[in-house]
Symmetry: C2
Subunit: 501 residues, 2 copies
Amino acid sequence: MNKKLEELKTRLMEIGDLNGAGGVLAWDQSTYMPQGGGPARGRQMATLAMLAQEKQVDPAIGKLLDDLRSYEESLPFEDDDASLIRVARRDYERSTRLPPEFVARLNAHSSETYMLWAEARPANDFKKVLPNLEKTLDLSREMANYFPGYEHIADPLIDFADYGMKAASVRKLFADLRAAQVPIVQAITSQAPADDSCLRKHFPDAEQMAFCEEVVRAIGYDFQRGRIDKTHHPFTAGFSVGDVRITTRVREDYLGECLFSNIHEAGHALYEQGVDAKYDGLPLQGGTSAGVHESQSRLWENIVGRSRGFWEFFYPKLQKAFPDQLKGVSLEAFYRAINKVERSLIRTDADEVTYNLHVMLRFEFELAMLEGSLAVRDLPEAWRERFKADLGIVPPDDKDGCMQDVHWFGGVIGGVFQGYTLGNVIGAQFYATALKAHPGIPGEIRQGKFEALHGWLIENVYRHGRKFTAPELVQRVTSSDVTIEPYIQYLRTKYGELYKL
Amino acid sequence: MNKKLEELKTRLMEIGDLNGAGGVLAWDQSTYMPQGGGPARGRQMATLAMLAQEKQVDPAIGKLLDDLRSYEESLPFEDDDASLIRVARRDYERSTRLPPEFVARLNAHSSETYMLWAEARPANDFKKVLPNLEKTLDLSREMANYFPGYEHIADPLIDFADYGMKAASVRKLFADLRAAQVPIVQAITSQAPADDSCLRKHFPDAEQMAFCEEVVRAIGYDFQRGRIDKTHHPFTAGFSVGDVRITTRVREDYLGECLFSNIHEAGHALYEQGVDAKYDGLPLQGGTSAGVHESQSRLWENIVGRSRGFWEFFYPKLQKAFPDQLKGVSLEAFYRAINKVERSLIRTDADEVTYNLHVMLRFEFELAMLEGSLAVRDLPEAWRERFKADLGIVPPDDKDGCMQDVHWFGGVIGGVFQGYTLGNVIGAQFYATALKAHPGIPGEIRQGKFEALHGWLIENVYRHGRKFTAPELVQRVTSSDVTIEPYIQYLRTKYGELYKL
């Protein structure tokens, strides 16, 4: 039996190595590759992806997984070998369900649609992409139908990013969350807006980078196993447990950009750096779902990084780094500036309180389009209506309305947005649970110490990698299903105090 | 027939993409990879190399090459398709000759020997690596014997780097070269040493990098298709015709390091950037041999970059970059400093005149060991004797004697050194031929213009990539075999004037 397991591991590690190599090529493309490298790089990445896919669907893997089933069943659910076999089987079954012909057709359509969108968005021309987007919806339904037996047609699509979450339960969760959040947003935005002018001075690039490096090092990001580089869009890229890099961007006229994108990406990276090193190169490496991944970026960025306690420690250091810019700006003024809430058009620029409203309307529209209750051609109008209802403003155009995100225009419709809000919700659940185990965490944070929180997250969340699905992990860690209560509690406490609600 | 050719190209390009991807991973490992990435990176690179090798020896390629033989024979020798098939066949036949079992055995032995050497060299302990090095010699002979029918046992090994060059003819060439060079070295080193103190002041890193970038840009290095980064050992890495990077190192206490290593690597890179873009990803991409590659680094570094005319243009700019350090240092004094000749122990630090003596003794020892006329255990003593005869000094130890280069300790004995000196020889041949076609080249260089030389090299050498072997290319370009006359002529003219010989 051990020999079969070793053969399975060898095969899986080859796939892992090809994907890791592809990750390095993609990182290089975004950071240091000269412009002329573009065409060959696209080809090289496609070749690695194709070889990884070929190996992923090799029937020899299916055979090994069958042969190993009795061994797996003889082991406890949490056993490393059992978990490896279980997760590898899930990956194998998902990969082999999609006919290569369909994958090729979808990829070709996605590329074409992406290029159309890149032209149509600046021109605010929804009609130009409408036929393609309608076909994307057809293909998304076709994709879902390769996984028969679902409760909701979105379920198989949600499974790609957030395995085990169901459209029905997420919809219910989001309905409750919306009901709680819309009044909070209304109560805050009916007041005079917070003053964030202290963040909008001239902050030189090098000093921002130096300060951010100090912050992410303090929260536990390991520079022996990572580094920070600059890219157009910040991201985290893990090539192995020993090499998890983050990228950032700097705006010299806005301090919030580099600072919070660094803490956000460092949160993602802490997760991947914290995975048990013995899973390296195997399917158990990496984060278990989009939602759990986002729970870590959001927990560190918002719950920790935008807390008053955090800045009790770091604000004097920040003032030292920018003495002229922050002279006479009190800690309280700074704290209010970094937690400014406002009605805005763009999801990626949204603050912590309004952000979920941006996400949830997209999720609802995905379900409605897949169900057939919303026609693609009616999306712009539906967007304006729902936006007004939830955020109190009406997008003046489609380019900053339903065309703002690349997701639907470069992939499928369904399963691509829920992770952002699930992240906020799950992050708050984990943090509340950590606080119960270690009530001293807020006190430590006020002293710039993060070992108790970081250690608890490694022990309970990070080290497991992909061993547990998100629902399994949340249940195991919090003894509860995914629930919005801790998140709502967190928002009410923090913003109730800030805005005297 | 076209369909078979397309299938061949598809297969070859997959191999090219895997090798290109491996190149990116290796570059990243030397430049930006955090320390913790090491173990997984080694595994990822090994996986890519193994997959490339598997695809390289796939009998389907042999079948396609057979099927395409009559098509190839119907075309002129220089035709792109004919050349692609010819070079692909050569690669295929070389790859399939070596049993995978042997390759694995050699790799395991090389890794072990490299690690031993890394410990033994600082300890000056030749005996520690002797048994391994003896086995390396056995394996080198075994490797050669997978290519029966050779004239000299070193020929198959030489073919790996300098295909088509023969031990007998290289030995003859080197004997003549040695006979001409030893007296030049003796005549120069019997005089008072040149004063290079002007290069040994404090030159800040950033200013050196800025100046070097200006120089390599001027000679034609295309930053849209390349970049410069810092590494421990400088190298050139081409991942495609559109992405050929160089690396450098800076010594703030010695101006010569960064400057000439940049021009040297830029020479390699001009070659690979100059290959016809339609060969990208296919076996015709890249340089045709170690010797021709080195001819370009040496031509640009020495014949151009250490010429008086070159510095007539650049020295005023250099003085502007380092006004304090170079105040009162005349162009003539600087020119003499960068062309200082001295007897030294280390090949990689050697000047233009003594360098070949370092290389040629290694080549002779390789042949002697392979022939059995020199036992590995007698290498240290033989090294000391020959070093004294050629360079007039005796190495005080083995660590800076026969143990100084990694080549034999991380690979095979045979075929690994001749390219360095062939490069000097071929570079002078090419340059002399270019001068005949464009007598205005020296005048252009004095004005900081390099278009005529660079253009001639692209047209006659670079664009062909691997289409012609080194002997074919030299014959085609210079209407002559590889010959030392232009090189000796160059040395005598330049150093005769400098040292009044």
